[in-house]
Symmetry: D2
């Protein structure tokens, strides 16, 4: 476990109404996020719609994030891909533009891969990696859980420093904590599991809703650290959970972007297909939940 | 939320080697459980193999449990069934033999029932119920989650006082806490989720592993109440979680019965089909985990 | 494989508007079904809502069906249950009232039972059975597929003569045909799979939609037997499939009962909870599909 | 429906033992497949491990296949990707190297995308497409079924000429046939469903096992066309199904490559991670199934 709790934001990729990437908007957003007290930035994650970006766009998004962060907070670049050669190229580019670490998702056209097969994929990607790496469990989009056995093996790899778990299964999360060394970082990525994960001993959170209600996350962390579970529950239940419930029903990237647009923090709530931008009644409902 | 934490045991149904119910063994086991500091007994739950017992056996098991408990702790009787008429009969019999409350599972030959359909089932079962009732969410055997919407509606029913949630999904558990009144009791039934559930504000636990390591459950509850999360984690991870992992892989009723037989607390680890009794290597592995 | 194709009806249990069983209505319905050319009757199956009936009601439904059939067609009685002792009692009662065979579903509060466990359950139920028995695969309500390995073992059992497969997975269905002896009967219970199952060599169908469009089923069987696949496809696609699609979306028992009520073949479309009776727009849509 | 049945091979990508692509081996393999009577070639599909290849490798594989086919049979190039811009680039490259059509899989890092979202993705990819396109349903690796509603809408698109369905669900397959125009081609990609799909009116098959037992596929097609279902069943059950069962358990690409290596049709059975190459006992078992 790390010494102090660490909250990072999986940054959305702002887009213009025609769907092109808005790098200026990203710069402004990064400034806002840093000023809100976030401990780190994670561009090109799932909320960042990495899988809908071309290679050139992904490089530009990471570079812009690094430049805008200006060493105030570290940048963990998402480098997801299904081919070892492509992912290695993304890692090199992340290093070239100044990212501090990378976030690597298992091959997501894999169906039910074996633990050995997933481990072999990560070893092929990360041997001699120029940057430290975090594994990334997100079964709802990958199609399977990254096996705890594979994580436990990879925890000893020189380049692997931790994992982001966005699956929302706290039994799995507990198994990660139990079966990896103390200095292996375990980050919670499922916002509804924030409080219980802190109680279980999580090292940090990489949470999409830190775009929307960063203060509530800080309050929960402080309250848990201070032993005031009642206060922690209040912030989790009253602030984080209602927004989370909306996002789960309507999609995280579309909902977070719509919330940011509603607050004039980005110009447009546009997302790329297969995601649907939030419109009409759903947008009105979001405004009610936020206000 | 209740004022103090409440740990109940979903009692196994001891069986002789030929598979017949061992009521004398049940009496002895109840004495042991009460002496171990348990706050309540739940016969004819899932761990009690209710679905493998005939109606006559179920009545005898509840009656024996009530008599052996001798008012030292309350008895919540499992009354699972799929036909309204049958479940109502089980409720009447539970009342007749002296149970304090009942635990009612949704109709488990239902596939994907609507929230309205499940709610209608519970209303038909519980209108004018002679005993207070707990709902029971256990999707892994029922085939679906009892919808939070249905629970929220039923929380206002005169006879409904709480729920046991054994699904292991803490987002669902959090939704229960958030969407029901404060005096509606929410009990955790998935042992691996014990610590985080306490942190989230659970009212109690109905945990199969309280047969095996009751002290660890008490330690966790005390530590959480006292704000010592580090101590709570130690007992959860070092004592409860390894046994839980074994049970999840080998079945709860077979594993718990085998553990009790190993400690001479019941005569035999026999279970009924479709469950398989624990034997050979699996049994040896359990002994290693326990000792 | 049997010599000629065999179509049986999994008879609904007619109910009065207050939800009580309408045995007179059942008698009339049986007469109608026999006159429509059906080869057999299957009361107390899934479409017959067996799981919502008390033991007394189940006995009465089977007895009424047998009496009304008056030996014109055989009766296969559903005897589903989760406790060996209960299922054996249902088998005895089916024999006592004159049923010709029984249909036995795996224990449906079982979650993920092993193949050995399921096999042990069926052996305990069927050893010395007074009636020949059909196994019943219906994972959508049981929670798991009855393993092909278990079926292959049970195919040798003296009392086991065949299986009804309602899972809709034709790879599984093909495995059944391939891995059981030629005289083991394999019946298709998923109406949308009727034509392809005949092509694969099914021995029969036990199809809920035979209540609604029996002629189409006869046409498909005749056309396949005569090598006219084009004609078979026409009847399957134009008549059976649209009704099937409606039923899949709205439930088989509610939809079939509503269709029968619309045609005055039963007095009411009432079903028991957790099923919802078909009403309003959904009912109007059904009428459009039927007419 | 097309006038005559069409069997295409989703060609594996031969690799050297160090995992590099063996383009010479691919050339030889294409010659063998054409001589075996296949009606078309599909490089860079799932069996071709497209998701494990870099962009440069994918281009080389398609080009080599086109050149080796030498206009004897058409080439449908897999162009899978998750970003619209990337997939459009793959389509352009497929056209540049001479492919006849493309096969487009839904975005596979999408989780549960809406029908509208999937439709929007395909429209963005295929508007003004230089090549005719086939949709590709393969939920086991994509994480969701491509909705029939989306397919029905896209069937009218100028560039969309058909679909390959590898999901193995024949109810879905029947819905495709029922809800698309007669000239929309529906191809079966799940080998175990070959016979029943022909009976249902499929236009063709794109089947990995055509690498291994092409004659059996031709026999089944001929037998169904001639009305001899008994003969068709014999070839499906005795030849195709046992190999299929092995492949389903051990992976299609690893098993097919091992079978080809065993017959000296490729130099090595090597696959890329996360797939595991077939070795030891599994390989011996395959040899038994094949011989």
């Amino acid at each position: 476990m790390a010494d102090s709790f660490d909250l990072r934001c999986p940054v959305v990729t702002p887009m213009n109404e025609d769907g092109s990437v808005d790098l200026d908007g990203l710069e402004t957003l990064v400034d806002y996020l840093v000023s809100s007290g976030i401990d780190g930035l994670v561009p090109c994650g799932t909320t960042g719609e990495f899988s809908a970006l071309t290679d050139e766009e992904r490089r530009a998004v990471v570079e812009t994030t690094v430049d805008a962060a200006a060493e105030r907070v570290p940048v963990m670049a998402g480098v997801g891909g299904t081919a070892v050669g492509e992912v290695r190229r993304h890692v090199s580019e992340a290093e070239a533009v100044g990212a501090d670490s990378v976030l690597v998702v298992p091959p997501y056209f894999g169906g039910q891969s074996s633990a050995d097969g997933n481990e072999a994929f990560f070893r092929a990607v990360l041997d001699d990696s120029p940057l430290p790496a975090y594994l990334y469990n997100i079964p709802q989009t990958v199609g399977q859980e990254l096996q705890v056995d594979a994580v436990a093996e990879l925890a000893d790899h020189d380049s692997v420093v931790g994992i982001k778990d966005s699956g929302g299964d706290l039994t799995y999360f507990g198994d990660l904590l139990r079966r990896t060394p103390d200095d292996f970082e375990v980050h919670q990525g499922w916002d509804a599991a924030y409080l219980p994960s802190l109680a279980m001993g999580a090292d940090g959170g990489i949470n999409a809703l830190s775009h929307v209600c960063p203060d509530a996350f800080h309050e929960v962390a402080e309250a848990v650290a201070g032993g005031d579970l009642e206060r922690a529950r209040r912030h989790q239940r009253e602030t984080i959970d209602p927004v989370f419930e909306f996002c789960r029903d309507h999609g995280f990237a579309p909902s977070v972007k719509a919330a940011l647009a509603h607050r004039d923090l980005v110009d447009s709530g546009t997302v790329r297909p297969p995601l649907d931008s939030l419109r009409g009644e759903a947008f009105d409902e979001l405004v009610t939940v936020l206000d």
